[in-house]
């Protein structure tokens, strides 16, 4: 990255004029909502009657801590995030290695790869619902035809299966993200390193462990932190497939917050959940900042 010479300090006024719209938009659409949600966490708020707010102190947080559903949502979110992220990382690296091979026509495969990322979550959720439908769905049909199962699997209406079905959706949609990042990095690994390893008699596996993995370590760390944070916060990927059900077995914190705010009309409790999520997010971001520091001149 080349270093820029900042010249002509005199026309800084234009610079400030150009940044002004961003500052206003950021204050209105990003800073304000976050601060407001922190404030809301300390109030009793009924969304149907926004002017009748009462100060609640820590009552909303007390409600959270005393609610078994909050704790099970947190556990679900942790499990969902952990399994999804691991699968995405492993599959993402594997696919990136495949796509890095010097094969004919490889660019077609590379091109297709990003496709899941652009498909609306609503669409994937509908497709999954249809494919996983117990009686008519293609998945159960295929498994029955292959003789693997005798009785239909209830992919979305038994608690464990529902959890893993949403994980599948999440992995399907976001593995490409990992692959693209890893592939970009792979293309910058100096080939001399491989040549040297080959001269030393290293086989494919040794070359992967000794050369490729250390080179990928940094980008993988960044990607995993990102994916962990984003996966933890996901709402639609679960809600659209299972609505948090059956029962409350696939609730995560985002769905819990949504249900408290919309179904129970307790926006304060919903906001308090958001504050808890933000605290976790903040810890994650600190980790991220530590892993890679900005190299920009200050």
């Amino acid at each position: 990255m080349q270093k820029h010479e900042h010249w002509r300090a005199a026309d800084n006024r234009i610079g400030l004029a150009f940044i002004a719209p961003f500052v206003v938009a950021a204050l209105v659409f990003m800073v304000y909502p976050v601060l407001e949600s922190v404030r809301m966490a300390f109030y009793y708020i009924d969304p149907l009657n926004p002017d009748g707010q009462r100060f609640a102190g820590l009552a909303n947080f007390a409600t959270l801590l005393g609610d078994p559903l909050f704790w099970s949502s947190l556990r679900n979110a942790a499990y969902w995030t952990f399994v999804s992220t691991i699968l995405q990382a492993v599959l993402g690296v594997g696919i990136a290695l495949l796509l890095h091979l010097p094969l004919r026509g490889i660019s077609i495969f590379r091109g297709l790869l990003l496709f899941p990322y652009i498909v609306p979550t609503v669409v994937i959720a509908l497709c999954w619902q249809w494919m996983l439908a117990p009686e008519l769905g293609i998945v159960n049909h295929a498994l029955r035809a292959a003789g693997i199962i005798d009785e239909n699997i209830y992919w979305l209406s038994s608690p464990t299966m529902a959890m893993h079905s949403t994980i599948m959706l999440n992995v399907w949609k976001y593995t490409p993200f990992v692959t693209i990042c890893v592939l970009a990095r792979l293309q910058t690994v100096p080939t001399e390193l491989y040549d040297a390893a080959r001269v030393d008699g290293a086989g494919v596996v040794r070359r992967f462990i000794d050369v490729t993995l250390p080179q990928l370590a940094e980008v993988l760390a960044v990607v995993v932190v990102f994916r962990t944070i984003w996966t933890f916060n996901k709402f639609e990927e679960i809600y659209l497939l299972t609505r948090g059900g059956p029962g409350t077995s696939t609730f995560n914190l985002a769905i819990y917050s949504f249900e408290q705010s919309i179904a129970n009309l307790r926006m304060g409790v919903g906001a308090a959940t958001g504050v808890v999520m933000m605290m976790m997010l903040f810890a994650g971001s600190l980790l991220y900042m530590r892993i890679f520091r900005f190299q920009e001149d200050t």
Partner: protein, 301 residues
């Protein structure tokens, strides 16, 4: 077998295995939508028979229902369905709403963040590095936190249930990553040309318009595509902000097809396909930019 022949044979097998893997992955990626397409072309009776990928009697009936907007749905007189709750005749209206809202919020985000990215990378003032830091933090804030405070604001402004509330609401999610991506991109644009033009006496605005914008175009396009994708795909904001059925964007509208007693899978898959088409077209046209954007936005540029 000579050593060369053995090496060649081994490479052949290796490549063969790689192709098998690649094709398997491609099938996994494509199957859900291929299946949706296939289902959408089947007449209703065929859905309950043993499924085949190629429809026996392909029909465009489902698409006709959605596009012509007539409520032929259950028009044969059966009573299991109330055509006022989730009528396919709103589909085109929802489609239009989605287009308006995602284009609108993308325009706003792109204009604001292009100006800001130029400012941050070409001028020197205190706190300017706060902009990319802040954007990075901003795009990790979950939407579920932003949505309710923004909803309260929209209520106060009297904007709930209007497309404006969505257009503005999406700015809160699209702006941070447009900003981050464009910042990374502008940093990489060599500055010499601009400098030369300025020394030759061109004005700042002219340099910005004639030199900087054209060279930043790939980055701007990448950011715009991402922004379009995010706002087109959103469900949460629309679900919270909108009340009346003719103001819904596609995502919330199409989910209404689920609410009835009968789930018409053919109709649902047809709407899934139609909903994906604009994004797929964008994707094919601008794939290279998209990949570039991924590189700049996700891994540090």
């Amino acid at each position: 077998m000579t050593p060369q022949a053995r090496a060649r044979a081994r490479r052949w097998v290796g490549h063969g295995a790689a192709y098998v893997g690649l094709i398997a992955i491609t099938l996994l990626i494509c199957f859900p939508l291929m299946w949706a397409l296939s289902t959408s072309l089947k007449p209703k009776a065929e859905l309950s028979t043993a499924p085949t990928l190629v429809p026996h009697a392909p029909t465009l009936e489902n698409y006709r229902h959605l596009i012509t907007g007539k409520s032929q749905y259950f028009a044969d007189g059966s009573t299991g369905y109330q055509p006022t709750t989730a009528p396919p005749q709103y589909f085109m209206q929802w489609f239009g709403n989605s287009v308006l809202v995602s284009v609108g919020s993308t325009l706003i985000s792109i204009i604001i963040s292009t100006l800001a990215a130029y400012s941050v990378t070409r001028f020197r003032y205190r706190w300017r590095m706060a902009v990319p830091y802040f954007s990075l933090l901003g795009y990790m804030v979950p939407s579920i936190i932003l949505v309710f405070p923004l909803f309260m604001v929209m209520t106060r402004l009297g904007l709930t249930d209007s497309l404006w509330s969505l257009t503005l609401g999406y700015v809160s999610t699209t702006l941070p990553f447009c900003m981050w991506l464009l910042w990374a991109f502008f940093r990489g644009i060599p500055i010499e040309l601009e400098e030369a033009a300025l020394i030759d006496g061109a004005s700042r605005l002219r340099v910005f318009w004639e030199i900087v914008l054209p060279s930043a175009l790939p980055g701007i396009i990448a950011a715009a595509i991402f922004s379009l994708i995010v706002s087109w795909n959103d469900y949460l904001f629309a679900r919270v902000f909108m009340n009346s059925v003719d103001h819904y964007p596609l995502t919330v509208g199409v989910m209404l097809f689920f609410e009835g007693v009968h789930v018409d899978w053919g109709l649902m898959m047809a709407s899934a396909v139609l909903m994906t088409v604009p994004m797929a077209v964008l994707f094919m046209m601008l794939q290279r930019h998209l990949v570039a954007g991924f590189g700049a936005g996700a891994v540090k540029g």
